[in-house]
Amino acid sequence: MMVETHLRHVATMLLESAIRIAPPDTREWGQAMRGELSYVEGHWAALMWAFGGASVMAKHALISILIPSRRGGISPGDELFAKHVSLGKAALVAAVVCIVAALVFFGAPPFRQAFRVAMQPWTFMFQMASRNFQPGFDALAKRAEEQHDPEGLAFCAVRLERPGESARLAEEAVHLDPNLIWVYAVVGMRHLELPQTGQWMARLEQWDPRNSLFHLIEAESIERSHLRHGVWTPPTRDQEQAWLTAMAAAFDSPRFDDYLDRVAELTRKVVPRYGFYDPYEVQSREQLDLPVDTLESSVRFAKSLLRSGEDLEAKGDHKSARGKYWRVARFGQIVDSQGRTGFEHLIGTSLQALAYRQLEASSEKEGKQSEAALFAYLAAKFDPFTGEHPGFPGESAFGLETARRNAAVVQISGLMILVFSGLLVIAAAILIAGGSARRRARPAAQRARPVATMVLLSSGAGLLFSSVTLYLTYRPYWYIFQSAIQNGGRSQARDLFFFLNDTKIPPGVSPRVDLLLHSLLYSGSPSFLFYVWAGVTLLGVIGLVIILLRHFRGRPSAGGLQNHPRVP
């Protein structure tokens, strides 16, 4: 009973609220519906009555806002008795306003980039099918070659994933401009299997003799040569010796430069020159990819140095042992202070922590307690997980969760833009067909007009809403990207990296499932993911067509007078 009383109360409040927002000339009609509400039998029926009345008032309020000339009421004309005329026209005007406003967004570069990012999972599927993951670089490299632009060629060389093409472009760039010789180091780091590596490193050692990077690349290249066609073969004595020599030279070098500053400088010059604003290629591959493999071997060499130091200590040669520990600490310090990526800092701090722990133990054995305390402090300070210098510097302002959420919002907004655009095309086609059918008196097409108008309005509003959401969500990442391109700004680079990484995964797919799909893609059918999504889309379209057909078949004819045979 209480609930029913509340229902009538809600109905009254709803109608009275609607009357308040209605234009003055229609309020009397609102009062008329309010007057009848007391006589409507049944509480639910009363609520439905109020809903109907409120919709009439809301419609007039909307018309008066969108078409001010209609404020005076309904204009005379041939459409005097047509039920949907006023709302239909208002809806059309509103839909057109929404569509135009949404299209204006496409004029803004951040929005265009945001839309490309939103389409990335689907673009990735097509790239997967064609097995070309960097189609933009083919065209860019061709233009750079035509223009004999060494910087353009170097830009492509340092980013291309195909080793042969990358090496060819690097050699062409250095041939045109010998000052770009450092490109060999970056390409060598990315493609350790290249046969030219040894020759390149020899040239680089002459050009920049104090840099440890070339020795590290050389060592890693020797290590890779043990792995042929997925089978590991034990190194020969000569190979082992060559590896040790290269590593020793790296640990004795006073500098560590991975040339990422030069890569960033190159990016700043080339991207605006060619208008190559692809955040995936320009930004995300610059930060983490490069020296990972190269530096991993240095940890193995450092541990062997520390072990040999322990052996010397056991033999009582504390001085030589300490020399080995300090060698590791010094190399870690160089990599930590001169490296630019998170991984470099992680390796640098890890090596320092390992060395200081050994020095602490050595001092304790010698009874030098104050020295041991100092080394303990340093070991704790450089511990990559608990120390003052975390391995990955705190460049992430938003955090992983925010990046994931924003990536999902961007992807869904992009998808909705496509869906609403499709609905707009269908609705517009129905309206155009209905307009021409009106003259030929085809009732089916005419009946579809109100539905099509509503679809047009809701899709237009949806398109605008999705566009605004996409723009606002992506805008911070656009500024991070622009800052990196224009000023070489690295602040929040990790936020952009996390965000771009998450946008590669289709919405609703967890990273773990994505890995599974990737493994299927690489080991099984190359188009698996493409077929899954194509199937889902096709089923959706078939469902929509069935719903529309059922709607138009099931709806009573305009000649509904058949139901009223008692017309006098």
Partner: protein, 102 residues
């Protein structure tokens, strides 16, 4: 004079008025007779009244209850309703709804 286009719902309302052309009708009563919801019925009544085909007045009822709006066809409205119903009758007999079998 140009004959305005009439929607099936409007014809239902006119048909209801023609049953007792001189009587005053309440909105809820018309809604029950025509089976039209308030959101459909009232825009039709508003248009008919706007073009002087319908007259409306307020009727006070019991105290504490809002007055009621009642409606009756004007002479012009009556003529138009009769003409429209005469025209609609033969059309209704020959037209078949699209997509309907049989």
């Amino acid at each position: 004079m140009k004959t305005p286009r009439i929607s099936p719902e409007t014809l239902r309302v006119l048909e209801s008025f023609l049953r007792h052309p001189t009587d005053w009708h309440y909105g809820y009563e018309l809604s029950r007779e025509t089976k039209l919801k308030s959101g459909t019925l009232y825009p039709i009544l508003m248009r008919l009244e706007k073009y002087k085909l319908l007259e409306a007045r307020w009727v006070a009822t019991q105290e504490g209850v809002p007055p009621r709006h009642t409606y009756r066809l004007t002479p012009n409205g009556y003529e138009l309703a009769r003409t429209q119903m005469e025209e609609a009758r033969p059309r209704a007999m020959v037209r078949q709804p699209a997509f309907c079998s049989g």
